[in-house]
Amino acid sequence: MSKIALRTAIGGAAVFATAIALGTGPANAAEANPCIGNSGPVTGPAAFGGKSIRMGAEMAVDEINAAGGVLGKKLKFIQYDDRGAPPRGVDNVRRIGLRDNCVAMLGGYHSTVALAMRDPIHEIKMVYVGVIAANTNVIENGRNPNYMFRVSAKDRWVSKFLVAEALKRSPNNKVGIMYENTGWGKGAYPNIQAALREQGTKEVGAETFNWRDTDMTPQLIRLREAGAESLVMWGLDREGNQIMRSLQKIGWNPVKIGAWGFAGNLGELAGKLANCSLIMQTYSWMGKLEPRAQKLYATMQKRYGIKSQKEIRMGSGVANAYDAIHIIAKAIKAAGSFDRQKVYEAMFKVKHNGLVMNYNPAFEQTEERHDAILPDAYKLTAWYDGELLPLEQTPCK
């Protein structure tokens, strides 16, 4: 090593050590930057989830900035790719919180990533607002103070919702469960069981499947032989299609009711086989839209090249992210500062009439109510001829 290089290295190390000793890193700055980060899948099989978050968040940020920004500053939205991989998600939290020094961040698509983010979020003490990943323990994590918030569904509440709808359609209360063998699916399974117990019954069988499985006949044969009248399904579109095709192969047509992982393009993949598969969502962009949603849809057409309403994949994610950004902006205003701790405290003061529901208030200081979207706002939609429509707009029951 040359003398100059050696001196530069020693000098750099000295500056770095001094910076650490004095605690002058950006993480310790009282005022964070006026940016909201996001770690979501921008590439990989769930990239549509990342895109839905980006669309909702950017439209909200644009509206806020057009109205003068927050505390006189323009808000910025920064998205990083995690491809659904927890280590990347953890890394992204640190990029958003330490390097970009953002005031808050939105969560991504995968629950496994969200679960892994809990530790770094609490190390940095930055508000996290989940907008898709729905695992119960992401929010209900036993920490106090708890920096994890969510403007999305909660699996425990979704389970109750789906179980209630399944039992309505099962004359003998015989419900089977099909769930994916992932953190999301495994996290939901005890929630579904508990929801069934609450209704005084239990599942006739529970089966798992893996991502990219191409045949589900063994699992479905077992559930059929166990007498299931309805299936509560927890998974994603690609595997949902294989469930539909396997049901066709074994000539069985039970009631199918699923979590919103089947809200992407199941109807395109399975065609009419998916007809009347019931899917829970927090928001639907199909059919007649209220004026505010109509305006947002026009923006999506212009800015993101969306040609028809059914092209809006994971539409709940768009609406949730849109509402979440507005809620964070209101919390910053209520805090009167970009100080992360003050913003955290102000999250409980926000009331907001959003796209998904009227948040009054958005959050309360109990673990359960760090979730903003209440079960009353959940909607049942149905696949019909390739479109995911509000149930009442289909002939399905």
Binding site: G44, P45, A47, F48, R212, P218, I221, N241, I250
Partner: protein, 291 residues
């Protein structure tokens, strides 16, 4: 009875997919003593490009031919830039990393251009299942193992009856000796990669109606196909097909009679046991290296 038959038929379909992938590995290994670990992504190319060409208004036969053509070009280029510079060096395994890297890049590019969602490739073979003694199966699922068997038969004929085929066998037997007697070893290797890629592209088109086309469809198929090629004995074309079909059927019986969660554990345990008992694979030829 119908449940067991259902598992058997489903396993045959899946096993046929593994077999088709494994044949590609066999062809490449035989002539170059190296394989393309992005071979799963060659299937993806075939399936995804067929849909892209259909989107652009091409008729299905034209779309299929164009996709296979692109797959061939991919195989040839990959052999030239990612295999040949490394395979010639003694004991080099650099081609492993280069082909894996190219596969990852291809998958990422396909995700950006094609989108993240799986898409269906229309085929009359998946419109309605046929019912055999109470068990349902799509014709497309039966077509896949059938095509795998036909390819192995044709490959055998090609290798025995044509000059190029004989050259492939000679290179597979001994590269140096084949070169000494006038066989252009590099051209044979390039042809083998082109052939494997053509079959890979075709396999992608055949399996897409069953498993859907997506940018990420190749990864698992590539891994399972390679595992099957190793079990069957990568030097034996009939061996890898038989191993593929057996592996698929065993997977479905494990799914059916044990549990879905146990499938991969049982499957890969079998791979280990087979390799301990038969290091050259079930049907592979023991390779002698003279020093």
């Amino acid at each position: 009875m119908s449940a067991a038959l259902q598992y058997f038929l489903a396993g045959l379909g899946i096993g046929g997919i593994y077999a088709l992938v494994a044949i590609g590995f066999h062809i490449m290994w035989s002539s170059a003593k190296a394989v393309n670990f992005a071979h799963g992504d060659t299937l993806m190319l075939g399936a995804v490009l067929t849909i892209v060409f259909l989107d652009h208004g091409f008729a299905m036969p034209v779309a299929i031919l164009l996709s296979i053509g692109v797959a061939i070009v991919f195989g040839v280029v990959l052999e030239r830039v990612a295999i040949r510079p490394f395979a010639d060096q003694a004991a080099s395994i650099g081609w492993m990393l280069t082909t894996i890297a190219i596969g990852i890049m291809l998958e990422s590019y396909a995700t950006i251009e094609f989108g993240a969602f799986a898409r269906p490739l229309p085929s009359p073979g998946v419109d309605k299942p046929i019912i055999i003694f109470g068990a349902g199966v799509f014709i497309q699922e039966l077509l896949i193992p059938f095509v795998a068997v036909v390819i192995v038969v044709l490959l055998g004929v090609f290798q025995r009856r044509t000059q190029l085929g004989r050259a492939m066998r000679a290179v597979a037997f001994n590269r140096v000796a084949a070169g000494i007697v006038g066989v252009n070893v590099l051209h044979v290797a390039m042809f083998s990669f082109a052939l494997a890629s053509a079959l890979g592209g075709l396999a992608g088109i055949l399996v897409a109606p069953v498993i859907q086309a997506s940018a990420t469809m190749g990864l698992l198929l590539g891994i399972k196909g390679f595992a099957v090629a190793i079990i069957g004995g990568i030097t034996s074309a009939p061996g890898v097909v038989i191993a593929g079909l057996l592996y698929g059927i065993i997977e479905k019986f494990v799914d059916g009679y044990i549990s879905t969660a146990a499938r991969e554990a049982v499957g890969f345990s079998l791979v280990i046991i087979v390799l301990m008992l038969f290091p050259q694979g079930l049907f592979g030829r023991r390779e002698l290296i003279k020093v």
